[in-house]
């Protein structure tokens, strides 16, 4: 969570008599007047407590206008994390009671439940805790505030206090992979390379050559053979991982972090988890979002780079790619560099994504497709469209999708469904083994 400097909005209103004061005033006044006119002492008895109540309320008539500010403790959060909306007040000596009613934007949980809280000021200013339940940009902290004088004779507000834009980063589900990447081809890293170097993984034992380090000499073999032998190891290098996120559409219902996940939820969370894993292992990670926003992050490593990727993921805009923005005649341009591993996270319902995965695979690029279509995804019901027709179209679309996935598998592009930790381990190992073998690439 990232704390934020106080960004406050100051709202103004003015004191007004409450309905209760008006009611007490009218009842007591009329009761006394009628009692005097008709000589009914019962009405005086009934009016007496109301007269005292009115008097006490008027005695506490406020004279100063309070000033209210509101702010959130944090403006960058992960899904499921929470922050506190605090109310700062000045000139509230005459205030006895505070009521706060927080706005309820979608995918946001509030505490107290419903975002309604009222408290005597002597007990402290009530706070409202806010927890966004889904990644994205959310406008949080909007609320209405009302203040009351002692005996509730006068009310200030309710006044609207503005909220703040909060970036909700995708949560990174527990994810770890022990599989090596297929084509480590970079600088110093953690992956076993094909070429020899100064790593720790044994590559073989050969006779000593000029330039070999003395500490590499294997004395046991040297004594047995009568000639100096050295241990050779394989270099350990990092690799480039390009994450391709399909944001062309969002399929299935999304209930935030606590409920059902849509295709885009799975995509974004998978991308965040994989990015975090590879950044931690020292790899260079890039992001390319296929969607209306066309968000992208170049190759980089480190915690700041990971935060940048998470930021971009949280600002994804769903929709078709704009004309000329990374697409030529419907063919996507991803800017894949040599040696990079491309991980495509997509529900694979868009033709362009399947095409680009197939094209890259045929060019010899290591491509892995992570299928993020929820099993229970259904098209939304639209007014004026026959449900039977929608279901038929959806079934046809899924059949086409399965054909695309089969063809990708035939080309050698593995497709796995996202299931959290270990999703890509087996596939990565197979890709790594395949990368050791010579093959012909189509260019």
């Amino acid at each position: 969570m990232t704390p934020t400097p106080s960004r406050v909005l100051t709202a103004t209103s003015h004191w007004r008599p409450t309905a209760a004061l008006g009611r007490a005033l009218v009842v007591s006044g009329i009761a006394l007047a009628v009692a005097l006119v008709v000589g009914d002492p019962s009405l005086v008895v009934i009016a007496a407590p109301f007269v005292l109540l009115v008097a006490l309320s008027l005695v506490h008539r406020p004279t100063r206008e309070p000033r209210l500010d509101s702010h959130l403790d944090h403006v960058i959060l992960h899904e499921g994390q929470g922050t506190t909306a605090r109310l700062a007040m000045a000139d509230v000596d005459e205030v006895e009671f505070v009521t706060r009613v927080a706005g309820r934007p979608p995918y946001v949980a509030l505490r107290p439940s419903g975002g309604y809280v009222g408290r005597l000021l002597a007990e402290g200013v009530p706070d409202v805790e806010i927890s966004p339940r889904r990644w994205g940009r959310r406008f949080l902290g909007e609320e209405y505030v009302a203040l009351y004088t002692p005996w509730a004779g006068f009310r200030y507000g309710p006044i609207a206090l503005g909220g703040q834009q909060v970036r909700v980063l995708p949560v990174t589900p527990p994810y770890d992979s022990r599989a090596e990447v297929p084509q480590p081809l970079g600088l110093v890293g953690a992956h076993r390379s094909r070429r020899p170097g100064s790593g720790t993984e044994l590559a073989g034992i050969r006779t000593f050559q000029a330039g070999d380090r003395l500490r590499r000499i294997n004395w046991r073999v040297s004594l047995r053979t009568g000639a100096l032998h050295v241990v050779t190891t394989r270099a350990e290098e990092d690799t480039g991982v390009l994450l391709v996120v399909d944001a062309l559409a969002d399929h299935g219902p999304s209930d935030g972090i606590d409920g059902a996940a849509s295709s885009l939820d799975l995509t974004v969370r998978a991308a965040a988890a994989i990015a975090e894993h590879h950044v931690r292992t020292g790899d260079r990670v890039a992001l390319r979002v296929v969607g209306r926003g066309g968000e992208q992050v170049g190759y980089g490593a480190g915690a700041r780079h990971l935060r940048m990727i998470q930021d971009r993921l949280s600002t994804i805009q769903v929709g078709e790619v704009a004309e000329g923005a990374g697409a030529d005649d419907g063919v996507l341009r991803l800017g894949v560099t040599g040696g990079a591993v491309v991980i495509v996270m997509s529900p694979m319902l868009a033709e362009s994504v399947g095409t680009v995965a197939a094209t890259l695979t045929r060019r010899g690029v290591t491509v892995l497709v992570i299928d993020t279509l929820p099993p229970d995804a259904r098209p939304p019901r639209l007014d004026g469209v026959e449900p039977g027709l929608v279901d038929l179209a959806w079934r046809m679309r899924r059949i086409e999708r399965s054909v695309v996935l089969d063809r990708l598998a035939m080309l050698g592009c593995p497709v796995v469904a996202w299931r959290g930790p270990g999703t890509v381990d087996d596939v990565m190992r197979r890709l790594a083994r395949r990368a050791q073998q010579p093959r012909v690439a189509v260019r």
Binding site: H14, A20, G22, R23, V34, P41, V44, L53, L58, P112
Partner: protein, 172 residues
């Protein structure tokens, strides 16, 4: 979902008092031999229900005035102990509506708030037997000279004070 189902317990309790108070005040004339007819009771119950649903609405004023009118026409200048019951019931309903309207219907009212208003209710309720006793003592006494002029002047002064107090307080 019905509103009652989502109301917190404190609001349900307060609104029950808002509903029952005026009805009890109306029926309090019964023991004195003046039971209200059904065509009075039913509208009062209806108005009390509306008042309980929207405690900061003007319905409350109308409801209380109906009860006052019934008391005026039913008992006349007779002073009964039941007047204390009616006064207490109306006051409790009024205070319950006041606390219930601190916020939306789903705003839970904290125990400290209920405790404070309970104490205040006790203070206000204490005026009822005192007033009733004073009325009983002064009943039948000759009117002091100028009492009506004094009462009228007091009423006018109270009206002026209230008007000033309830006026627009925005600073220039």
């Amino acid at each position: 979902m019905p509103l009652v189902a989502v109301l917190p317990t404190s609001q349900l309790l307060l609104r029950a008092l808002v509903l029952l108070g005026p009805v009890v005040a109306l029926l309090a004339t019964g023991p004195a031999g003046h039971w209200p007819p059904w065509w009075v009771v039913v509208p009062v119950v209806g108005l009390a229900g509306a008042f309980a649903a929207v405690p900061d609405s003007p319905v409350g004023v109308g409801l209380f005035l109906v009860v006052l009118v019934w008391w005026t026409i039913s008992l006349g200048d007779d002073i009964q102990p039941a007047a204390m019951v009616a006064a207490a019931a109306l006051l409790v309903a009024h205070l319950a509506a006041q606390v219930a309207s601190y916020g939306p219907a789903t705003l839970p009212v904290e125990l400290a708030t209920l405790r404070l208003w309970g104490l205040r209710a006790v203070v206000l309720l204490a005026t009822i037997p005192a007033t009733w006793a004073a009325a009983r003592l002064l009943r039948g006494q000759p009117e002091p000279a100028g009492v009506w002029i004094l009462a009228t002047a007091a009423a006018v002064a109270a009206t002026v004070v209230a008007t000033v107090a309830l006026g627009d307080h925005r600073e220039a």
